[in-house]
Symmetry: C2
Subunit: 398 residues, 2 copies
């Protein structure tokens, strides 16, 4: 019997208990012994829960239990979750989490503590919810240099954008509806301003760079709160979908470039068809070429399924199989946002002036009042757009 | 330094040498030591290859080399590859392969030999080429009961079907063009009659059933050679794509059902947008819900990238991390083809007779001369269609 403890009995934490209960037979068969939830630490009581008896409010009791060898951290945030994760790892207990904020902020330190104490810090569920992406990127693509990642990694914003298009709603109304459906928080800032996507991109970029840490602070981030229904209608008219993309580009002779921004994505790209709360992450390796991982990026059981997958792996290979062996603070800096080269759709009622202004760049006509400009640095497009009245741009992906 | 040997220097075998050469730095950093190709066994000489000096024709020399701890089997087929794989495993050398025929035919025995000799038999590249699918299905979805798999797992047939639609070609002309492009063999039987897909489904189904072996012989298989341009034009008219699908369905209270057949796939399903030589595998877990894995299902470097990923894993975790610990012959039988319940598009110029004949089933009108029939066993639809003149059906997936 392998005993686990759960820190925080919210949506994902209770989902973990539920998945272990629901699929216990299969899990025991795989691990070779039963996985049992022994204790759950939460400030609240859950008298109606199947797991009510396991709840404790006493952190000393929780951490002092020598039976518990694997700790699930589903508190969220980077304060108490940070303290508790350090405490568990320092005791040699492996920690499995879905907490992207904590991994993105303190991953380097936490993986170091895990290594020192011969245990693992695992976080398959931190990006893409239940979608397998951390392990495939790290293990299956181990023979590749990662050239490019483009991910729809936030379900809330993708739901809002899809609903604006399908129901003809304004951004404000679509946000309200997402809140009503439980897809958006009452304070939606972290989702709609791209901060959640920024954290996930920090994790993906660090893995793509084999552990060379890319802090969220280095990732220029723009959310969807300025996207209008008109933008979306226009995008569809030129066969594009509007998607919030987390992007990592690593040219052969250049620095890695990371940013989060809304994009017009051509309908030719399979990722453009990823709608609603679904997530998808496109990864390009120099040997593999393009691949894509698609599924539910959030949700109680979906996210819990990834957490429990990590628990099983940790139970089977405690000392050997931490899937990210080491993150480290690196001197290799990512490209400055200003210098990152992009493609963009530029719109203006005075398209002739626009064409003239972008004369030195490769362009393509896409509509009466719009062109695509290719391979241009942010600083250059910002300068040119600033010099034109009534012109604007949105990132473009083919 | 970790020495490997390659059996068979064809497309994938030479791709493996190339990927190790191309990304050697990154691979060495991951493994902690250099991975070196020491010997390549092939009957032919390759005087122009960068690796010409490593070629040997002498199997004794190859297998007798104590330095070689990992063997790559890229011979293909289930004859000499079978003998050599047994020989390598019996010597305690881990074997990594892309050979779906061998895994699907002799996987149970070969994994048993590997276990007895404390080494691994790994085959991430056997399904979906470079797409990560074996490891995600086995490891990341370990906490799930696998309810459903629907895969486009053969690039040749998907290229032919896509090209028929896009260029308005007959099946015969599209096949000829695929042969000209190198996407189809001169004898295309294994691809177009679904045998390649059948082998891959055997592997996926066995993993989905946690090692309970599903032989290719148990998988009813129909290829695409009877699909006409008219079928494809009609499918598009009702918003469907024609796809050859490998399907695994495991209802809660029933036997697993496996078959390969052409399907009309609704454009609402994201898998319907997977075109050309690309592959995609949809997997549904009881906790995760739907996920999809997409990418290049074949190709030299793509497939080699998955082989080298397994080499790295094997080098790091030789004794512990064989990702399929055990396959076994199981008494649990898959559902008889006749009893598998499906949905289908039924076409006839006398649609009124068709509707009457399927009166006991749930149906849906989709065109003047077609209906969708749902939840009907093969034996029942075959019987009813047989009793009607001029009616036909093709499987349907929503």
């Amino acid at each position: 019997m392998k005993n686990i403890g759960i820190l925080g009995f919210g949506v994902v934490g209770s989902g973990v208990a539920e998945v272990i209960h629901m699929n216990g037979d299969k899990i025991a068969k795989r691990v070779g012994e039963e996985i049992r939830v022994k204790r759950i630490l939460d400030l609240r009581d859950f008298p109606d829960s199947l797991f009510a008896d396991l709840i404790t409010h006493d952190a000393e009791e929780f951490f002092g239990d020598p039976d518990i060898s694997i700790v699930v951290e589903t508190i969220g945030g980077a304060r108490i979750a940070y303290e508790y994760t350090k405490r568990a790892l320092s005791l040699g207990k492996s920690v499995v989490t879905s907490n992207k904020e904590l991994v993105a902020t303190h991953g380097v330190e936490l993986m170091e503590i895990a290594a020192q104490n011969d245990c693992s810090y695992m976080f398959e569920a931190a990006v893409g919810g239940g979608i397998p992406i951390i392990r495939p990127l790290h293990k299956c693509l181990a023979a590749n240099k990662i050239m490019r990642i483009a991910g729809i990694v936030n379900g809330t914003t993708n739901y809002i954008l899809t609903n604006m298009r399908d129901s003809g709603l304004s951004y404000e109304d679509a946000l309200k509806q997402a809140q009503k459906m439980g897809y958006a928080e009452q304070d939606p800032t972290a989702d709609v301003e791209g901060i959640d996507a920024q954290r996930k991109l920090s994790i993906l970029s660090t893995i793509a760079l084999d552990g060379a840490y890319v802090s969220p602070n280095c990732i220029h981030t723009e959310g969807i709160s300025k996207i209008t229904l008109n933008d979306i209608i226009f995008a569809e008219s030129i066969n594009c979908s509007v998607k919030l993309l987390a992007r990592f580009d690593h040219p052969f002779n250049g620095k890695p470039a990371c940013f989060v921004a809304p994009h017009f994505v051509s309908h030719n790209a399979i990722i453009s068809g990823v709608d609603g709360v679904f997530n998808a992450i496109m990864v390009e390796g120099n040997a593999l070429g393009e691949s894509m991982f698609y599924g539910q990026g959030a949700g109680k059981l979906a996210t819990a399924s990834a957490v429990v997958g990590d628990i099983i792996d940790s139970a089977l290979h405690r000392h050997k199989d931490a899937h990210i062996t080491k993150w480290y603070n690196s001197d290799e800096k990512v490209e400055n946002y200003e210098d990152i080269k992009i493609s963009a759709v530029v719109r203006s009622n005075d398209i002739d002036s626009v064409k003239k202004a972008f004369d030195d760049y490769q362009t393509e006509d896409v509509a009466e009042n719009a062109i695509i400009v290719k391979d241009i640095a942010h600083k250059d497009i910002d300068k040119i757009i600033g010099s034109l009245s009534g012109a604007s741009y949105i990132h473009y992906m083919e």
